[in-house]
Symmetry: C2
């Protein structure tokens, strides 16, 4: 198989790239390096069957050309800057919604009909049901990020119906592990390094978060693509565990860390578990592995 | 109040314009006349307090300028060509999703914080529950039109959360009445006029449709805006009745009229009825009024 991975120089994308190459597949990574790092692809670059195309998803010609000859698309590239959505409201529309449309059109041009997509548990807004199943009541969006991912899911589903595509849409919780370069744990680590005596937390510290280890996430995606055979497969991807963001020191206050932050995301992952998957690494271990990696790769702290 | 109505030269928009002017309000209509007709505004133009700005929602400067001084936005403009979505997949993205984003940004620039939006029952895809409530299980989109309306709803909701907007999102069934210029009834009428001996029907004729009379639709919107005071108010807007599309003659076959067509849309309208609204005109009367109007306004048949 020849896989096309948007955002393949990013955190999850580069780990997925390594896995697919190790499994003997060919991989084309398409990434504009806005948040990805070419050094995450150093291992991949030493292997045959790998190709890196630096490019933007808004460059539709380059995108379509790069996808030529591929069999399957992992569309992982996104503006993942959930928190500052209201400072630049057009960014989620452009880099998520329009970019996804461009990926789908490039697939049509190249007769590629299978796509896996990284959506988000944020799409449930502020649900009434925990853990939240895929069939939760029709949610109301609370962030521009969630709204854009909702738009992407809708587009992908409509392409499945209208153009005979098949899709695997994964609604992620936060993912931890090697090459993790942004998010709560990253921010906390960076703040504590610069001032070990104080940690300033957005919100009231009681926000609960569920994390999944990156290799467990990849296991689940690959298994689901193999086992789930509907036209549109929508799967929550998380852990049954959660932890409270509750350091000891000072708080900005408020139930939410920022406008549009979900105070709690805990997904009902019965559906993906029914395919035979279970996470192998718990949250505590996932945090430890992440911190170990960050402490070895200090360069990444200066890049963000 | 000074209302800004996108798509105000269209079917529902022009009826709403007349109503608001009759109620003593000021109205600015913004419409690119791609599917609207300036002659629908002839009555409005004879009244003080009315302004027509011919313009496109993709022209962001003109849009923002035209909205200056308005208090409330009815965003009704849309690509409503549900059926041919797969022939030009970018159109729904551009004219619905991006256009809605532009409306929201124009509102931010003008400090207008209230918006009513015409969404669609198609957003429920192919639901399992009939009549379908607003809190139906998280739907899977089956048309590019539905997907784009979903994206619009998400954007509007996120602006409510992020920028303190208040929204009334109406999920319509098909609307019938004076100035109706496209849809099943229009197509059937036109076909029967040209050949009264045969009517070729897409699908198997058993598609069920629920229709609402346009003045009932306007009553419901105005009442809901007055009575429903949540930050994001999402309301189905339809009739409890439905009819089968079942003429006698020849059928294209298949359960659906076209890819992405919903075989059945019947909305649970308990929520909007709880505000004190009920339709006053039944489906049969609504069809009759529509046909009466079409028979008097033959010019419109040549324009489509």
């Amino acid at each position: 198989m020849r896989y096309f991975i948007t955002g393949g120089a990013g955190y999850i994308g580069s780990n997925l790239t390594d896995r697919l190459l190790a499994d003997g597949h060919k991989v084309v990574v398409y990434d504009n390096l806005s948040t990805g790092f070419e050094r995450f692809l150093l291992g991949a670059k030493s292997l045959p069957g790998f190709e890196f195309v630096p490019g933007d998803l808004l460059d539709t010609d380059k995108l379509a050309k790069a996808m030529n000859g591929c069999d399957f698309v992992f569309h992982l590239a996104a503006n993942a800057d959930v928190r500052f959505g209201t400072e630049h409201p057009g960014r989620d529309l452009e880099q998520n919604t329009i970019a996804t449309f461009n990926v789908l059109e490039a697939m049509r041009k190249n007769a590629v009909k299978k796509i896996a997509f990284s959506s988000t548990g944020s799409i449930y807004g502020e649900p009434d049901v925990f853990p939240t199943p895929e069939t939760a009541p029709f949610p109301v969006q609370t962030s521009l990020y969630g709204a854009s991912k909702l738009a992407c899911e809708g587009l992908i589903s409509a392409y499945c119906e209208g153009f005979g595509f098949q899709a695997w849409i994964f609604r992620f919780v936060s993912i931890l592990g090697e090459r993790y370069t942004h998010g709560h744990v990253f921010d906390f680590y960076k703040k504590l390094l610069s001032n070990p005596d104080e940690l300033f937390i957005l919100g009231d510290g009681h926000q609960k978060k569920s994390y999944l280890y990156v290799q467990d996430c990849i296991d689940a995606m690959l298994l689901a693509i193999d086992k789930a055979g509907e036209r549109v497969n929508i799967l929550n991807l998380g852990s049954d565990e959660y932890i409270e963001v509750k350091p000891k020191l000072s708080y900005a206050g408020g139930e939410r860390g920022w406008i549009g932050d979900s105070p709690f995301i805990l997904l009902d992952c019965t559906k993906v578990r029914s395919l035979g998957w279970a996470p192998r690494v718990g949250i505590r271990d996932a945090v430890t592995r992440t911190l170990d990696w960050l402490s070895k790769e200090r360069w990444v702290l200066d890049k963000r």
